[in-house]
């Protein structure tokens, strides 16, 4: 049995260094779980990644709960989830406190501006990855397997979001259903 303290140490490490969202963090969790601690086999880990994408919620929370549960039951799940979420939350609180208090100071407002530029790049790169997956079913460009239906649906969704501020949750669910229907018809 792996002790809760070991789980805590491992996940606090992930929580502290997990910058840049799930896509950047999955390799980090893999390194920690498969190579460093050998708590999971590679096969188990790739199953986990598939489940993460299929279940709702932030991917990092999903995986830490799942791994914690597998290692030490519900107490393990609680320890793993909290220790990977709390460091980020504390840092977020510190940043927002500084922002609130000092945002008029040139150094801070300049920093926010530059970080904004960085976040455009980060989100755009995630978008690009997802777009390639959805439209081409792969990470490479090829004209033969463009999914035109997907592009049209995406444009409609974008229009609805932009023009009517439709609830994105509703849009996501409808997209899922439409995709399911199409797969039955074709």
């Amino acid at each position: 049995m792996i002790s809760l303290f070991e789980i805590f140490l491992s996940f606090i490490k992930i929580g502290l260094f997990a910058f840049g969202g799930a896509y950047a963090v999955i390799p980090l969790i893999e390194e920690e779980m498969v190579n460093t601690t050998a708590w999971m086999s590679f096969k188990e880990f790739s199953d986990l990644v598939a489940i993460d994408e299929l279940t709702p919620g932030p991917i990092i929370v999903n995986s830490s709960t799942f791994i914690g549960m597998k290692l030490a039951g519900i107490p393990g799940a609680i320890v793993a989830t909290l220790s990977c979420v709390v460091p980020g939350c504390i840092i977020a609180l510190i940043l927002i406190y500084l922002y609130k208090k000092y945002k008029e100071i040139p150094v801070i407002s300049e920093t926010i501006k530059v970080l904004k530029c960085m976040s455009v790049a980060l989100i755009f790169s995630v978008l690009l990855k997802m777009f390639m997956n959805v439209v081409f079913n792969s990470e490479t460009l090829s004209l033969t397997n463009i999914n035109y239906f997907t592009i049209i649906l995406m444009i409609i969704c974008f229009y609805l979001l932009k023009k009517y501020k439709t609830n994105p949750l509703f849009i996501m669910l409808v997209c899922g259903l439409i995709n399911l229907l199409i797969s039955f018809i074709l």
Binding site: F19, N62, M69, S119, L161, P168
Partner: protein, 186 residues
């Protein structure tokens, strides 16, 4: 106040229950709290997204923590983080018992792939919003930062932590240089 905290909790809870990754949640958070409730301006929200991206851990947690803190202080922050964590936590504990069904069922996969189409449209909306903020700065310097950050993310495997650090450093140096220039002119 109590009503706001409740709204924070129930909104982050439903968002986390539906959206399947942190980046998907960003779009919904913006839609709810900027477009529907009008608690924050678009510009404020963009600042928060930039800050959230500079924190480690799930982006959904840091961003909801920040909007929670900005609207209701520490209690609000706690309420919205709990809202984000509880649904995937419970879900994953249940999932551990029949995860082979979920990860092999093709209809679940098709449904989720469809949802991704909506997520792409939503992320496009978020990116364009953020980018229009960068355009408003109206300086070549910021476009260069966007481009360089994008190249960093796509072409290297280094952590986003270093990117954030470099960005902060650049911002500090730049504002110090500007200050010097102003001093010299005086």
């Amino acid at each position: 106040m109590l009503k706001r905290i409740w709204l924070l909790f129930i909104n982050t809870f439903t968002i986390s229950l539906t959206a399947n990754s942190g980046y998907a949640m960003l779009g919904v958070i913006k839609n709810r709290f900027v477009d529907k409730y009008g608690w924050f301006s678009k510009e404020e929200m963009e600042d928060y997204i930039a800050l959230a991206q500079s924190c480690p851990g799930p982006i959904a947690c840091s961003s909801s923590m920040i909007i929670g803190y900005q609207s209701c202080g520490v209690l609000g922050a706690l309420a919205s983080v709990l809202g984000v964590i509880i649904p995937p936590f419970i879900m994953m504990i249940i999932v551990t018992f029949f995860y082979t069904f979920i990860s092999t069922n093709q209809y679940v996969r098709i449904f989720i792939n469809g949802m991704q189409i909506g997520v792409c449209a939503m992320l496009l909306d978020v990116v364009l919003g953020l980018f229009s903020g960068v355009v408003k700065f109206n300086k070549l310097f910021y476009y260069v930062i966007v481009l360089l950050s994008f190249l960093y993310v796509r072409l290297t495997d280094y952590s986003i932590f270093f990117l954030a650090l470099i960005c902060i450093l650049i911002a500090v140096i730049k504002s110090l240089l500007i200050k010097k220039e102003v001093d010299n002119r005086l």
